[in-house]
């Protein structure tokens, strides 16, 4: 929790960049697919953070240039990646030993909703017509030392994704400790949301108006 970076609302990558700054050197970090993946690119070269991929990689590096793809090395999103010095490779049972056993310092996930008690809903919107698919989200949310969610503060229709109680099926109850959105950084503690930092130009009143549960100022 060192340098603070003010989130610029017009900068879509600002929440990911701010999250990247809050990652401590030496942490073992798993990034969920989608927006969280971008966090890796925001750790500068002077720092050493070890990225874990649940398909059996520690020390994952950036996407290789087109001509340098190793066809036997993909990340959890099934896309080509590289290895950094110090990397190791292992099978799925050992990989989830790391996850379930509490060895991963941080997991960054996207979400449909987060409740004020830290309940996470990010695996299905629950419609009967949909085909369920869960992947490693449930294991990560119960196993990592910290779950930080990186998402837009509000859904496309404007509804808050920070809610009193999740309406979507849960991925895990009481899992999330922090949320990074376009409106700022928010913590979850003692059954409620609190403000850690607001994005530049966002007032507490606006954040409260766009949050579907009480938002405590520290």
């Amino acid at each position: 929790m060192t340098v603070q970076t003010i989130i610029q609302p017009q900068d879509r990558e600002a929440p990911a960049r701010r999250l990247a700054r809050d990652i401590e050197d030496g942490w073992y970090v798993n990034l969920g697919v989608g927006m969280p993946t971008k966090v890796a690119d925001m750790i500068n070269d002077e720092r050493e953070v070890v990225f874990h991929s649940e398909n059996g990689i520690l020390g994952m590096g950036p996407t290789p240039p087109e001509g340098e793809i190793d066809p036997w090395l993909v990340n959890a999103g099934k896309k080509p990646v590289t290895l950094l010095p110090g990397a190791s490779l292992f099978h799925h049972a050992d990989s989830f030993t790391m996850i379930r056993g509490g060895h991963i310092d941080l997991c960054v996930l996207g979400a449909f909703e987060v409740s004020q008690t830290g309940d996470l809903a990010n695996w299905t919107t629950g419609g009967d017509e949909l085909m369920p698919a869960v992947g490693g989200a449930m294991d990560l949310s119960v196993g990592a030392k910290r779950i930080w969610v990186l998402m837009q503060h509000n859904a496309k229709g404007g509804e808050s994704k920070l809610v009193e109680a999740c309406s979507y099926p849960l991925t895990a109850p009481g899992a999330v400790s922090r949320i990074y959105t376009d409106l700022g950084v928010f913590g979850v503690a003692d059954g409620g949301f609190y403000v850690i930092d607001l994005a530049e130009g966002v007032s507490l009143g606006e954040a409260r108006a766009r949050t579907g549960a009480p938002l405590h100022a520290e």
Partner: protein, 231 residues
């Protein structure tokens, strides 16, 4: 002399019956035993239960091909998205689906291989996926009891192998393969390199005791990179 090498896919796959429970290794396009799966599709045993992480991608090959031919009754997996064949069969009610969180899937398979009939995990506790399962508190936390998941056959892929069935892997090619190797009555492996000399004992990831048959299928990097674009 112990010699688990087979010299054709058909020979490697001999004896897989209708109704078999078949594990298939791989994650994304890496570590998938595609040649074995495609040869199994040719042989055509019916009413299969498939255990795999994904339901595959392209209709032409792998798990979707088995499904497209109507050979699969049920799939047990963590993430079936991306497979149009599966999706249309599922939405039409023509295939059963058991969704298992990825880590629980890996551990249920490991336990089947390790003689452990059941274990507890916090994964899925307090969610829809605990329905129908026993739950229990240990030290104030809620856990779900999960049962071992064994198979009749495991089809896996490794990088190199020897006549004893010892295997080594490359990159992210291990994934479910070493775990599945332990959990089936019959484990069949396709390798890129089938060596005459034994593998270095310190470098072996899957000891030969877990492997029944091994067949060489030369690596095709271009094909694998193309498959990655679909995954």
């Amino acid at each position: 002399m112990i010699d688990k090498r087979k010299y054709s896919l058909a020979e490697a796959l001999e004896g897989i019956s209708d109704g078999a429970v078949v594990m298939i290794g791989g994650f994304g396009a890496v570590g998938q035993p595609d040649a074995l799966v495609d040869a199994l599709a040719e042989i055509g045993p019916r009413d299969l239960t498939v255990i795999a992480n994904n339901a595959g991608w392209s209709r032409e090959t792998g798990i979707p091909r088995l499904m497209d031919l109507g050979l699969v009754r049920k799939i047990i997996c963590s993430f079936p998205k991306g497979s149009e064949v599966f999706k249309s069969l599922y939405l039409a009610g023509k295939i059963e689906l058991e969704i298992v969180p990825q880590g629980t899937l890996a551990e249920r398979i490991r336990c089947a291989g390790a003689g452990i009939p059941a274990f507890y995990t916090a994964t899925a506790a307090g969610t829809q996926l605990e329905k129908g399962k026993e739950t229990r508190e240990f030290d104030g936390r809620r856990y779900v009891m999960e049962r071992a998941l064994p198979a009749d056959v495991a089809l896996i892929e490794a990088w190199a192998g020897d006549r004893w069935g010892n295997l080594s892997y490359q990159g992210s090619g291990r994934n479910f393969n070493p775990v599945m190797a332990t959990a089936a009555k019959l484990t069949i492996c396709q390798v890129h390199e089938l060596l005459d000399a034994p593998l270095d004992p310190n470098a072996i990831v899957t000891p030969g005791i877990f492997v029944n048959r091994i067949v060489q299928v030369k690596a095709d990097s271009d094909r694998l990179i193309a498959a990655q674009r679909l995954a």
